[in-house]
């Protein structure tokens, strides 16, 4: 739905077709597109205006570098300014007397409880001794949720059910954690609207009585124009020290992050990036900037690949390939590793410049996913010896495999042909020749 900014700017400048210095007119044309892109990414209108003004100042008269097209030059300036606006990732302030208190605040459904658990896990991996305190007595079963997560992760917690007042629970929780030798205490609080005076007073009470080192606003990356008011509201009442952006694994552009960062001036510290409990990362301004501009996210792609591919296994595979001992079993393993990186569509979206290409070739995610599944099913339906030596597959065996995998003999033949093709290429590679690679994805 959203054209990426780079595509749009390219169109604008393709029409102009000029080089050299950026004129005022070039910049004005380009900045109109930038403004649209920012608004579509949910950057607050006022924040977008200020941002555009800063870019304008930098861009007019800027020399277009030899290696760049004018559109690229503008994008470069916008990108740099965006990174600067997003600011450096903030670190947790964990020096000082133990235990340090981290208080999580935010609207309903922004992800505080999940974030509390993710943060605790990360802190423990860093060698700290975290505790969690269940301070949300309002939402039904919020305490149970925190306790369940804490038990799953084996992280000590404090809870008093839902009868006591949250500030009292938090004070006693911090004390209990201190007595047990905790180094960090994470306070989960109930979701509330920043315009709810009574509930905001409660947060002030918790803050005053527990003296947190960090007060972190947990905010949904999909938030719209209201992000500004939400962040302002919490900041005015409880004094934020940082932001945590959640649900960043979705496809929202995340422009709300710029808005919140601009109005509070506090750094973005972490991002929640998945359903799994380790889906939690330090904030990367450059990546978010690329994403807001729809420029792909190469770093995330590389990291995902690194996580998905086991280094040692990759080496073994490589050796097998070169010695031409690559079997269908290895092929299956490889497919599964690719799958771990996400859907084909997700992967392509992270590649810079793929936005436009994707629209053109219209890769059907589900279809690709189905194809992978089919291949898996076929290989699983073979006996181990067949996987190692596909030549065993005579007509009757093929019929058996087809029946077992819910496919047809033609499907199996197609897979075997593709596999032989791969083997042939690897053989050539092993001999140091560069084979012509036929289209892997049709």
């Amino acid at each position: 739905m959203f054209d990426s900014l780079s595509d749009r700017l390219q169109d604008v400048f393709d029409n102009l077709g000029r080089k050299g210095k950026l004129t005022e007119e070039d910049v004005a044309t380009a900045l109109r597109e930038v403004r649209m892109a920012l608004l579509e990414a949910d950057v607050n209108l006022k924040v977008a205006k200020d941002f555009i003004r800063r870019v304008q100042e930098r861009a007019i008269g800027a020399e277009v570098q030899k290696s760049l097209k004018p559109s690229q030059q503008v994008i470069k300036i916008v990108h740099e300014e965006l990174i600067q606006t997003l600011g450096q990732p903030g670190r947790l302030n964990l020096g000082g007397p133990s235990p340090r208190v981290i208080m999580l605040v935010g609207l309903q459904g922004s992800g505080k409880t999940t974030t509390a658990a993710k943060l605790a896990l990360m802190l423990r991996r860093d060698g700290r001794r975290p505790w969690m305190v269940a301070g949300d007595t309002y939402r039904p079963a919020a305490v149970d949720q925190l306790v369940t997560l804490a038990k799953q992760l084996d992280i000590p917690y404090y809870e008093e059910g839902t009868r006591a007042a949250p500030p009292d629970i938090c004070v006693r929780g911090v004390q209990a954690a201190k007595d047990a030798g905790a180094s960090v205490v994470i306070l989960d609080t109930a979701g509330r609207l920043q315009i709810d005076d009574q509930m905001m007073s409660e947060l002030e009470a918790i803050r005053d009585r527990t003296q947190p080192a960090e007060v972190l606003l947990v905010a949904d990356a999909m938030t719209g124009q209201e992000a500004v008011r939400i962040a302002e509201g919490f900041n005015e009442r409880v004094g934020l020290t940082g932001l945590i952006l959640t649900k960043v694994d979705g496809d929202a552009r995340g422009g709300a992050a710029i808005s919140m960062r601009e109005v509070t001036g506090v750094p973005i510290k972490f991002m929640g990036t998945g359903e799994k409990i380790d889906g939690f990362e330090p904030f990367h301004p450059d990546r978010l900037a690329s994403r807001i501009l729809g420029m792909g996210d190469m770093m995330t792609l590389i990291e995902r690949a690194e996580q998905a591919f086991d280094q040692r296994e990759a080496e073994i595979l490589q050796r097998k390939m070169l010695k031409n001992q690559f079997t269908l079993e290895d092929f299956l393993k490889q497919l599964q590793q690719v799958k771990k990186m996400g859907s084909i569509g997700q992967i392509l979206n992270m590649v810079p410049g793929m936005g436009r290409l994707r629209q053109q070739i219209n890769i059907d995610d589900e279809d690709a996913q189905r194809q992978l599944k089919k291949v898996e099913a076929i290989i699983y339906s073979m006996t181990p010896s067949e996987r190692r030596n596909p030549k065993l597959l005579n007509a009757s065996r093929k019929r058996r495999v087809a029946a077992g995998s819910g496919t047809s003999v033609e499907d199996i033949n197609a897979l075997l042909k593709q596999f032989r093709e791969m083997q042939r290429m690897m053989k050539m590679l092993g001999k140091g020749q560069m084979p012509k690679i036929p289209g892997m994805f049709r």
Partner: protein, 299 residues
């Protein structure tokens, strides 16, 4: 209607109240148009819909700014669909499937919906299809207790399809009229989780003819432009029939409602306007637009 006003009063004040101020009895200038555009954008109406609205208004030939308010109201109202009553009667068992992204307010909305239906003397049952999030089942059970509606649940991390299957059986044997099925929150961009949701829907289809009779998407009212993408993806996956917009008691404006109705033709059935059990009200386009424009004095 009082509660809708209560929930929307902030919206009204902070947003459309300002339109009325901006559009005083003066001649329309380019600044006026910029102002209208700015106000719509800030209400999360989105760039394309805003452009379309401004364009339409410009072609109406209005010269006085104060006439713009009425015209804008008209245009906004035209974008909204008059919601039909939920298709939940005229058969032995009707099934409502509820879906949405994480934290949008599915479980809370189900509790409130079940309560409403019970007050209307309908025999309701809830299926705890969110077996993934920690304590989601407990949360739903507590809402069930509050609403006085029984909840069928399985073990945490069990197959949601199995829970749904059990719930349908229970519904039949207990003579239930409406079964509301909760599902785990999932991002529309997560292929595997969307596939799981399709599976839950398919299980329903298999065990109850024509089920689900309503498939409602729960959208967080504070969400920006991504709401439209969410609605599209869920519609593609499970044929959404309508929308519930939550958290409209916040300072957010819910402006994405317009684009969703415009582009996808999905009716909005309920809006959530608070934490109380009664804080789920029918969506009424006319009073929605009207109350947005009122100059509230309270607060």
């Amino acid at each position: 209607m009082g509660s809708l006003r209560k929930g929307l009063s902030r919206t009204r004040q902070s947003f459309f109240g300002r339109i009325a101020q901006a559009l005083g009895a003066t001649d329309i200038t380019e600044d006026t148009w910029d102002e209208v555009e700015a106000l719509l954008i800030q209400a999360d109406v989105g760039v394309p819909t805003t452009m379309m609205l401004v364009d339409r208004l410009r072609h109406l030939g209005i010269t006085r700014a104060d006439k713009l308010t009425e015209a804008l109201k008209d245009e906004l109202r035209q974008l909204l669909i008059e919601p039909q009553p939920l298709n939940l009667s005229g058969r032995t068992l009707s099934v409502v499937l509820i879906a949405g992204v994480n934290g949008s307010g599915k479980t809370t909305s189900i509790g409130k919906m079940a309560y409403r239906m019970r007050l209307n003397n309908r025999k309701v049952l809830i299926a705890a299809g969110d077996t993934f999030r920690a304590a989601a089942i407990d949360q739903l059970k507590l809402w069930g207790e509050r609403a006085g509606v029984p909840v069928i649940a399985g073990q945490p991390n069990s197959d949601p399809g199995a829970v749904v299957y059990d719930a349908v059986n229970a519904a039949h044997s207990r003579g239930v009229e409406v079964l509301i099925v909760d599902t785990a929150g999932r991002l529309h961009s997560n292929f595997n989780l969307m596939a799981e949701l399709v599976k839950v829907r398919d299980v329903l289809r298999k065990v109850v003819p024509d089920a689900p009779h309503e498939t409602l998407l729960v959208l967080d009212g504070t969400t920006g432009q991504n709401a439209l993408t969410q609605a599209k993806k869920f519609q593609e996956a499970i044929d959404v029939t309508g929308v519930i917009v939550t958290k409209l008691d916040s300072s957010a404006k819910g402006g994405m409602v317009f684009a969703i109705q415009q582009e996808l033709g999905l009716p909005i059935h309920y809006i959530g306007i608070g934490e109380d059990m009664r804080d789920l009200v029918f969506f009424n386009p006319t009073s929605f637009v009207d109350s947005l424009f009122e100059n509230g004095n309270e607060e």
